[in-house]
């Protein structure tokens, strides 16, 4: 087997290795993790993304905001190639992770997705026990040692602030939890394998305000250890959780999504350079 492109996953060494991996992630905070250079995306003949140029920094939270149809979800899903199964979907231009092209010919999408995890809009736990849900990714990676799996499941559930609520019912099915718990279970499932990047596609839109708050606290807690990219409809949420914000808009003529402005969240929200950003943030449209 060729040398895997993934950094060696810290499954073998238990917590020490995990801590080391997190430390490595912290060292690189602020460096460019994911970069788009003149990136276009098509569904058949329809151009959904038009010349996106964006550099997502490592270890920080980047929010993608914009009105419906602006292509923010398309961009997010392009990062771990979730469009591969969509007939007619294709990418053009450059999208890289650690300088490697995500759409390169030699890239194995399965290895890519092991580095780039994803949390979806609707909680989608498997019809398995809470424990098996979190252990799923570890088993996908081939981990068979039940002691190590146990350790990692507990670690991930603690990290997802769910351990105290489910530690007595790890054998209950994942779907029996409340909506907010299910979403934190999905986050635990994603981070259990310690991906480098966690993509979140409107993770709170199906949740009540209290569950939303918990997820937001969780994102703040995961910041630094993971590079997080979050799509949200909720501007306040973007302002609360993110370090950087990308504002996207659909071109009125071509209907293709474009990046209007990208910058530190504090700056973009208080002092946007593009008048369209200002109009959107002040609620004039969208």
């Amino acid at each position: 087997m060729s040398e895997p492109r993934t950094r060696s996953l810290p499954l073998a060494g238990g917590f020490a290795a995990t801590a080391a991996a997190r430390a490595r992630a912290r060292e690189g905070v602020g460096k460019t993790k994911i970069e788009a250079v003149n990136f276009n995306f098509y569904y058949g003949s329809f151009k959904a993304l038009d010349k996106i140029n964006l550099a997502i920094p490592q270890g920080e939270v980047t929010a993608l905001i914009g009105p419906s149809g602006c292509g923010k979800s398309t961009l997010l899903r392009a990062i771990n190639r979730m469009h591969d199964k969509t007939p007619g979907a294709r990418a053009e231009g450059l999208l890289t992770i650690d300088g490697e092209s995500i759409y390169g010919d030699e890239v194995d999408p399965i290895l890519l997705r092991r580095r780039v995890g994803m949390v979806f809009q609707r909680p989608n736990p498997f019809a398995k026990s809470v424990f098996d849900n979190v252990a799923y990714g570890l088993r996908v990676l081939g981990e068979r040692n039940s002691k190590r799996i146990k350790e990692r499941v507990e670690w991930a559930l603690r990290r997802a602030a769910l351990w105290d609520e489910v530690k007595d019912r790890l054998n209950a099915t994942g779907t029996s939890l409340s909506g907010g718990q299910q979403q934190r279970l999905c986050i635990a499932r994603t981070i259990a394998v310690e991906p480098e990047v966690v993509l979140m596609d409107e993770p709170c839109s199906a949740l009540d305000p209290i569950s939303t708050l918990k997820i937001e606290e969780l994102i703040a807690d995961l910041r630094g250890s993971f590079t997080i990219v979050i799509v949200t409809h909720n501007m306040q949420q973007a302002a609360r959780v993110s370090d950087y914000t990308a504002f996207m808009l659909m071109d009125s003529q071509t209907r293709a999504g474009q990046l209007v402005e990208f910058g530190p969240t504090a700056r973009l929200f208080t002092n946007p350079t593009d008048p369209r950003t200002e109009a959107y943030l002040s609620g004039h449209f969208g």
Binding site: M82, R113, G117, N124, K128, T190
Partner: protein
Amino acid sequence: MSLETNMLTYAQRSRIDKALRGCTIVATAIAIVPLVLIIAYVLIIGGGALNRDFFTQTYRPPVPVGVDPITGLPVEGMEEGDLFQVQARGGVLHGIVGTLMVTITALLFSLPIGVLAGIFLAEYPDTPLNTFIRFCSDVLSGAPSIVIGVVGFTLIVKQMGTYSGIAGAIALTFLMVPTIARTTEEILKLVPNAVREAAMAMGAPMWYSTLTVVVPTALTGIVTGALLAFARGAGETAPLLLTIQGNSNLSFNMFAPMAALPILTYKYIESPFPAENQLAWGTAFVLMMLVLGINLLVRATTARIKR
């Protein structure tokens, strides 16, 4: 308002509603009558044939009333008409054993083929091969069962040189595979795509996510399909007549002619002896109970899905 001029009054609409509801109730009743009659007939006539011998004995030739069963000589005072007044003797243990062995073997053959075909139909829908297989499967499930019997006879019985249980199992497999494949396909299509996406985003290859997430999610539905296919196979007569032939003795040899409940029903009902006709009703009763039991099992499993 001009709209109101064309409107029926509330009383008129209620009358139409009642009339139409009456029609549906009558139609349903007409549909149910034959069903109730069949069940009642089989219960009353067939239920009477059931006793311990029925389940523990195999075929025994009927003995005329008035004939000594050991010497075969007429007992004194016998009249000619009594020859057909025979005692019901023996049972259908050989049929029960044959039906279970043949149908279970057929299920073992058709389950892996059917489930894998169903997975292919549901998970790889955009290939020309898929359309072709779906078409073939539909044609096969609509094929008259006697045709399946003839095919089984030509392909297996003639080649083997003998009727056999295994030939019957293969013929039933032809019938059961399409049923299992299509129910598996339908149930897999009900598995939310979000679940597939979740597994995909975890870096699971497609085969792994299908085996560990998609199929387990749909497992109860797949079991339901298999049970329904089993019930269908257990009740088939025509394919078995031409493949396992029937056997009056208890046989566990899958490579020799075997008995089966539907064949016994068919043979006994043609018999000139009323006692054997009674056995036919009894086998029909057992067969119906078998199918009914499987259907109840299906209901129990689907109730678990809904929960």
